[in-house]
Symmetry: C2
């Protein structure tokens, strides 16, 4: 069985490598004598590369080769990935992608194309890298109504937070270390501002709750404002700060969906997810909490998920295995001001006076302390209420400067 | 679509309840107008039960009803579960079981029967209760060579250890609390002696490495000898004690497989798995470490996995979806004396003299300390070597009484 790979970057080259290393097992799993990479589409040259002879620059070679029934898309970005994937599906080829941007932006369109052409469109690698998560949610938790999904969905930010929590590194130093280690790109915006995690929670929310969720409907906040003081207050509270993507089923066929830093209790399995690891927690009405943990990025881990999808595509080549969701609807994701949460607040002002005022405004607050705090610094956790209401109350806290505001979660 | 349930105990009644609660979703997932429990086989009476009218006492009613194409076995035990399951498979009915004892003892035979009769035999719920783990290993990690699998596979013992670690309860008190909470049975032998975990690691090892592993070939040690002193030394070492089932691919088409308490580092994701929760860590040659976490037992969680299998059986009723392994072979599991490990040793004797002797015998040992230890107590961790060699060396440590010997693991 011949396949083609579009995009010979980190993941694409990993796919070729996994098939080379585990080829026998891969072929056996789909009852083929062998699974072979026939073409690799990339505009760059790779002189001396083991797959140099397979590199092509013309997409039409793949499109017009009837022997290639499964195509892997690991180019990233929306264009020309969307056009190429669409053309492959229309030509009766199954497509496997690791491209979260593509799935989050165009999943709904691509499912329909796959269905119309009776082929598979699979995207396990688009969330959680090598971690089996989308298929297990779709298949193994099929008997559940999923009520919530939450996860540490970005390895770069989790590495930075881990360095801040355990090595007391500043955000800036931890980001530099992540870049030096190759975990963060030169322009780290998509990671540290939460955009990458946002695409992934969109895909998870779409799958768990059944309707397409677009990234622009999801409130997204990164980790750039987190300080070591906040890390210390989280420790005093009994937990750690994690960048969480999460979504929740609400009444009236609506959902909440959000990406932001959050206080997570030490008792939570998510608190122990460190370094570049990711984890996705799913809350079902029968199974309770289950969690999937592993490397959320990286060449071989991501390729592991892509090749598993390739195997499935081959196994179900004439017998489509659909996974997807319905089209987006208006006002499906509620505004974050209507989401219930509690806030950790760090502020500057007259401590005694301000905390007394905070108690009067919010009711039952939990005051947090840290060693060597300046005399005019104070911190507390509010009761649970809608974000909008908490914001209004916070505005009433006169004569203080709000330094930090971080959500508190119960996963 | 009509199904039958054999055994109306905790799990069986959970299956009926999940189908009642999430029936619409279940039916949609397998493209049926509805999925209905037609019969429930149980020798007991259930007066006033919501399903009272479905209870039957004659297995042949199920066997002879051509409309029942999927049968759930939640009776537990080997007999008559094996006979009933075999008869169903031979009659062309797919079977879903949660019965780990049955799968560990007779999986090989039942796979063949399923294949011969072109029906499905599914058993996701036999390991890890509601946690998706067997299918994700088989499908989502299909592109990997699995090198190791290890897990906290028994909720009862994990609850007891959690109470010992975090509440400083003695083993006896923690066991009593587990019994009072309904987590442990009156006769807790199967849990606390590791037999339950043994069946589960057999199923995992069989699936990961491809050949049937029988429980009697797996060295099994329970948690009854663990003391609070050991818990304290583990803390000093930087970790916790967990009951781990684990298996590893070795050279020459052999494996190791074992159940025993183990020191697990705080950095390991397994160290944060507390109370009745289970977790299974899988190490693949492409994906690295992935971990699956959730409730390993309980009515609704286990039923969640059973009903997911039922959905799959219905979806693949004319198109068998095989998951299984080959027959057992002799001497496939190496003797535990040939397995590499390091030991934590706690002993009584002349501390200074004995530790000096231990250093001479073992080489580079790590000495551990705890507060308020008796003057004649000492503890250390040995270097890594084969267990047989470590045992021989330990026997050379003269004039000491060995109080505890616990393996140290690197998961």
């Amino acid at each position: 069985m011949d396949i083609a790979i579009m995009g010979y970057g980190v993941v694409g080259s990993g796919v070729a490598e996994v098939i080379a290393i585990n080829g026998e097992k891969v072929a056996a799993k789909c009852g083929q004598p062998s699974v072979d990479v026939k073409y690799i589409l990339d505009l760059r040259d790779f002189p001396g590369d083991v797959n140099e002879k397979k590199i092509i620059k013309d997409f039409n070679v793949i499109l017009n080769d009837k022997d290639v029934k499964v195509v892997v898309e690991t180019m990233g970005g929306q264009h020309p990935a969307f056009e190429f994937v669409s053309s492959c599906l229309k030509a009766g080829k199954s497509v496997v992608t690791s491209n979260k941007e593509l799935v989050a932006a165009k999943g709904d369109v691509l499912f329909k194309l796959a269905k119309e052409n009776n082929v598979n469109f699979m995207f396990e690698a688009s969330v959680g890298g090598g971690i089996p998560v989308l298929r297990p949610i779709d298949r193994c938790l099929a008997a559940n109504q999923i009520d919530e999904v939450a996860g540490i969905l970005n390895g770069t930010t989790n590495f930075i937070l881990t360095m801040m929590i355990y090595n007391s590194m500043s955000f800036e130093d931890a980001l530099k270390l992540a870049q030096d280690n190759g975990y963060a790109e030169k322009d780290p915006t998509a990671d540290i501002e939460g955009f990458d995690a946002c695409r992934k929670i969109c895909i998870l929310a779409s799958l768990c709750f059944g309707k397409h969720v677009f990234p622009d409907s999801v409130y997204t906040e990164g980790i750039t404002k987190i300080t070591l003081e906040d890390v210390e207050y989280a420790r005093a509270w009994g937990g750690v700060i994690k960048l969480l993507g999460r979504a929740k089923r609400l009444e009236g066929d609506k959902i909440s969906a959000m990406v932001s830093p959050a206080f997570v209790k030490n008792e939570s399995i998510l608190s122990g997810v460190n370094d570049v690891f990711n984890a996705i927690l799913v809350r079902g009405n029968a199974v309770g909490d289950v969690c999937f943990y592993g490397r959320g990025a990286g060449k071989m881990a991501t390729a592991s998920a892509v090749v598993a999808d390739v195997i499935d595509c081959i196994n179900y080549i004439d017998n489509r295995k659909a996974m997807g969701w319905d089209d987006a609807v208006e006002n499906y994701v509620v505004d974050h001001s209507d989401v219930e949460t509690s806030f950790y607040i760090r502020a500057k002002g007259d401590k005694v006076f301000a905390l007394k005022a905070a108690e009067e405004i919010f009711g039952d607050i939990s005051i947090l302390n840290r060693n060597n705090a300046p005399e005019d610094e104070f911190a507390f956790v509010t009761p649970v209420a809608k974000e909008g209401i908490l914001a209004e109350k916070l505005a009433k806290l006169a004569d203080v400067e709000i330094l930090s505001k971080i959500r508190v979660e119960n996963y």
